[in-house]
């Protein structure tokens, strides 16, 4: 289990003057499910990459269990990227085995069945639809049983029922293993449905403008009264929130 403390003074890409992130502070406790909601260009993906150690951060900006990371994060990470990012020269099973070399065939088949891809282990990614490729990338992240799970708008191009099924699956797996989850989305309903806490980011340069606990019993359905009320109340209190404005 791992907790995160993020305190980013400012993030500027090399050869650029624009700040992507500016004074961004928040913490995620062990096993917590946090959703980050913000307009596009708010630096959400940059933030995830900094947490994952793919993007450079200064000492102290990203703390794992209260200690700075050296080169790479000190725990097992599962990352579901915006694009599936499968190796096209490897089959589905080989793609999974790349991140988990010692996994058995039955384990692979079980994981694939859970994401609705049974019998596809020998397929190459070009033979799969975009939605199926995305599910493989989800299976890849789940298979490693990560301590920290990072998701970058993972359900964005899926059709409604499939997205819902995968959201349920994500919750199921989270409740089984309780990894710490940072979930980036621009869909407020999705954030409310899944997360313990929703953080709203401002437009670029990104910082946290609102940190809100979602105190609704699970399972949450967007048709439910409690869900609707919570959302309506929050939006009335903070108009312009989804445009990245806290007023």
């Amino acid at each position: 289990m791992v907790s995160l403390d993020i305190s980013i003074q400012g993030k500027v890409y090399p050869n650029s003057l624009e700040r992507v992130l500016d004074g961004l502070d928040f913490s995620v406790s062990k096993g917590e499910f946090v959703a980050l909601v913000g307009p596009s260009g708010a630096g959400k993906s940059t933030l995830l990459n900094m947490i994952a150690g793919l993007e450079k951060s200064d000492p102290g900006e990203v703390l794992y269990n209260d200690s700075s990371m050296e080169n790479r994060p000190p725990c097992k990470i599962g990352y579901i990227f915006q694009q599936p990012r499968l190796m096209p020269w490897l089959t589905v099973a080989e793609n999974l085995r790349l991140v988990m070399p010692k996994v058995s065939d039955t384990q692979i088949e079980t994981t694939l069945t859970r994401v609705g891809l049974s019998g596809k282990s020998a397929s190459y990614s070009k033979q799969l639809s975009g939605g199926m490729q995305r599910r493989v990338s989800i299976a890849r992240a789940f298979l490693t049983q990560p301590e920290l799970l990072l998701l970058d708008e993972p359900f964005v191009s899926l059709d409604g029922p499939n997205a819902q099924r995968l959201r349920d699956l994500l919750l199921e797996l989270w409740q089984e293993h309780k990894p710490t989850v940072v979930f980036v989305t621009h869909d407020l309903n999705e954030a409310i449905q899944l997360a313990d806490r929703v953080l709203f980011l401002s437009s670029a340069p990104g910082r946290v403008v609102l940190d809100k606990l979602v105190d609704i019993q699970r399972p949450r359905l967007s048709e439910d009264n409690a869900f609707q009320q919570w959302k309506a109340q929050m939006l009335s209190e903070h108009s312009g929130l989804l445009e990245g404005d806290s007023q």
Binding site: P88, L98, V99, Q127
Partner: protein, 254 residues
Amino acid sequence: MFVHRLKGMLFGALPLLVLFLFWQSAAMLLESNNFPSVIQVFTSLHLHLFDGDMLHHLLVTMMRVTVSFVIAMLLGVLIGVMMGAFARLNSAFDSLLVIALNIPALVTIILCYVWFGLVEASAIAAVAINKIPTVVVMVREGARVVDRDLLDVARVFQVSRFRYFFKVYLPQLYPFIMASARSGLSLIWKIVLVVELLGRSEGVGFQLGTFFQFFDIASILAYTLAFVAIILVIEGVIMRPLDRYIARGGYGQS
């Protein structure tokens, strides 16, 4: 299915047949010793193959081609990957690479023979040195366009260095390595013949030089045919299956 394949083969052989027919009739019209007919060439091929020592010379040349090919590919890929991956290394060695690309093969061969003596090693070195720069250039292009997003996947999931290199990095270079191997094979065997002509006492190049002195054009063409046939077999038995392996899953095809 069988008929279809047979048709395909016939269609592929047709241009060759037309060429042979044209050649034969031209030779019969000209009746010159310097322009032997197809039949004369094949008779000579048969003679060299079964009564002469053609097989021996072919083998010797093939060995030289193989060894220098392997050396050139290994070093070329290594240097190409390094130059593609490290910008500083690339700018430091770029001008050297341009020079190496433009030194005539003949100059390298002569220098190798003069400096290292008329021995097998200098022959092999001369061929390899000629080929390495072109491999470097192609592989470097591949290393420059490697997909960082896929490398990031391997980094996040903490894939071991070995698997990172062989399962994630290198497969992205395979199409480029394959292209340089293809062009390499045809270039190398031509250079090997020059090397043999200039300073070796066996091999196809040496034989061609001897036949040239006697104006034995039929034998020259017979040796050429034999060697081209070998290259075609290599193309069919090694290169094509490799191509199919690399393109598995539709990778490298648009």
